[in-house]
């Protein structure tokens, strides 16, 4: 009979608590930078000038096609040598996930913008708006409302992806779990508790997302994909 002993976990709950906080901090930062960056990339891709659309397209495709862990190692160990800049683990991780999530958001934005009927943009132009004004005042607001469910799902994916930083010494929840498991020699209890913490947080987030989706569906504003 295995001797379950959760006491060391409870005694060190602050270690895990700090890890959870760092996970949330990283997710929040990546979202804050990723969303506007994603929007810019989407707009660049939709631009008529190949000089803008091609590099943006290449960047988006590259970051969507390569595994996130490879990207993380590159930003962590290769980039600092390349640009001769010192980076804390947090900064390196934040950059990686901002760009990575931006690439996915860019696709969501692009699909959303394209999905607004042509009629809308023509009507806007008929009203005398410039292309830019039409985009800003008519198309984007509608596109954003439609894409909210996809965004939220991407954000939840992001929270799961941030666990990768445990392999490069950023003290997120999984890293702290590793620390604790190695110090207390109780990997079973530590990893079980950690899995449950992740499940609780992410499940709660996805429940909120689904409630939001239903509200939006009722008001007819969403494209279910």
């Amino acid at each position: 009979m295995y001797n379950w002993d959760f006491a060391p976990i409870f005694a060190n709950s602050d270690v895990l608590g700090m890890g959870l906080l760092n996970t949330l901090k990283l997710t929040g930062t990546a979202l804050t930078f990723g969303v506007p960056l994603g929007l810019s990339l989407a707009l660049l891709r939709l631009s008529r000038w190949r000089l803008l659309s091609m590099p943006a397209g290449l960047l988006v495709e590259f970051f969507r096609t390569t595994p996130p862990l490879v990207q993380l190692f590159w930003f962590f160990f290769a980039l600092p040598i390349l640009v001769q800049v010192e980076m804390t683990p947090f900064v390196a991780a934040a950059i990686t996930f901002s760009i990575q999530s931006a690439a996915f958001f860019a696709e969501v934005f692009r699909a959303g913008i394209v999905s607004i009927e042509r009629g809308q943009s023509e009507a806007a132009l008929a009203l005398g708006m410039s292309g830019q004004q039409a985009m800003r005042r008519v198309i984007l607001p509608q596109a954003v409302k439609r894409m909210i469910p996809a965004f939220m799902e991407r954000s939840i994916e992001l929270m799961k992806t941030t666990t990768l930083v445990a392999t490069v010494s950023y003290a997120d929840l999984l890293f702290q779990a590793n620390e604790l498991a190695q110090k207390t020699f109780r990997p079973l209890e530590v990893f079980t508790v950690t899995a449950l913490i992740y499940f609780t947080v992410i499940y709660a987030a996805s429940l909120i997302v689904h409630r939001l989706e239903r509200r939006l569906a009722v008001s007819g504003e969403t494209t279910v994909h």
């Binding site: 595994p67 862990l69 160990f77 290769a78 666990t163 779990a177 899995a195």
Partner: protein, 212 residues
């Protein structure tokens, strides 16, 4: 970097091996899970739902580490890095593809069922001969996306020292202290391999949409 073709080849072989294992197990299990979620029997529906909710909402890396470090404390048999990583990735993929299968089956018009019934088929026969093949055609884009995700997730196995591409990149970088070359090379290898696949899935999607 180029002095080690054997190392990179060994890595690529490892990546492919775990990819195939997780793809097959993930899709097979996913089909079962999807059918369970579609079923009206509570005995099938509830466990399937629990499975889907749990494995969709926990990060794969946590699962891999749990299978490798935590589970052996409970069970007396050995878990190799390949087994632990395959378990984590396959179960996660099964949960996601289960939902894809379910949505695919549900999306078919009831007209198909009635037509099959009119021809004298039982429910099982109708499912096997009419519904499933059509549903598969509709689910192909989402499933190919899943397959690409599985391929990318293979890098997580490096966290338990399984020999795949990223692990080899780490090894070379640590021996020659050339992380820039090593990780750039690995990233490019993944990109070169996956980009054509991703493009062909876009192509596939477009063709399927046309044929409807």
């Amino acid at each position: 970097m180029w002095a080690y073709p054997e190392a990179l080849l060994a890595g690529a072989a490892g990546t492919l091996r775990i990819f195939v294992i997780c793809l097959v197990v993930g899709l097979a299990l996913g089909l079962l899970v999807g059918l369970g979620r579609y079923s009206k029997l509570r005995l099938a529906y509830i466990p399937a739902s629990i499975f889907v909710e749990f494995f969709r909402n926990t990060p794969v890396l946590v699962q891999i580490l749990w299978f490798y470090f935590a589970m052996p404390m409970l069970m007396p048999f050995e878990i190799s890095p390949l087994m632990a990583a395959s378990l984590g990735i396959s179960l996660n993929s099964a949960a996601f593809s289960g939902e894809i299968f379910r949505a695919g089956i549900q999306s078919l018009e009831s007209g198909q069922w009635e037509g099959a019934r009119a021809l004298g088929m039982s429910q099982a026969q109708a499912m096997r001969r009419v519904i499933l093949p059509q549903a598969i055609k509709r689910m192909l884009p989402a499933l190919t996306n899943r397959a690409i995700e599985i391929f990318k997730m293979s890098t997580l196995a490096s966290a338990v020292a399984y020999v795949e591409l990223l692990q080899q990149g780490k090894l070379i970088a640590s021996i020659h202290y050339n992380p820039i070359e090593a990780y750039t090379c690995i990233a490019l290898l993944f990109f070169i391999f996956l980009y054509p696949l991703v493009q062909s899935t876009y192509f596939l999607e477009r063709k399927l949409r046309q044929s409807d």
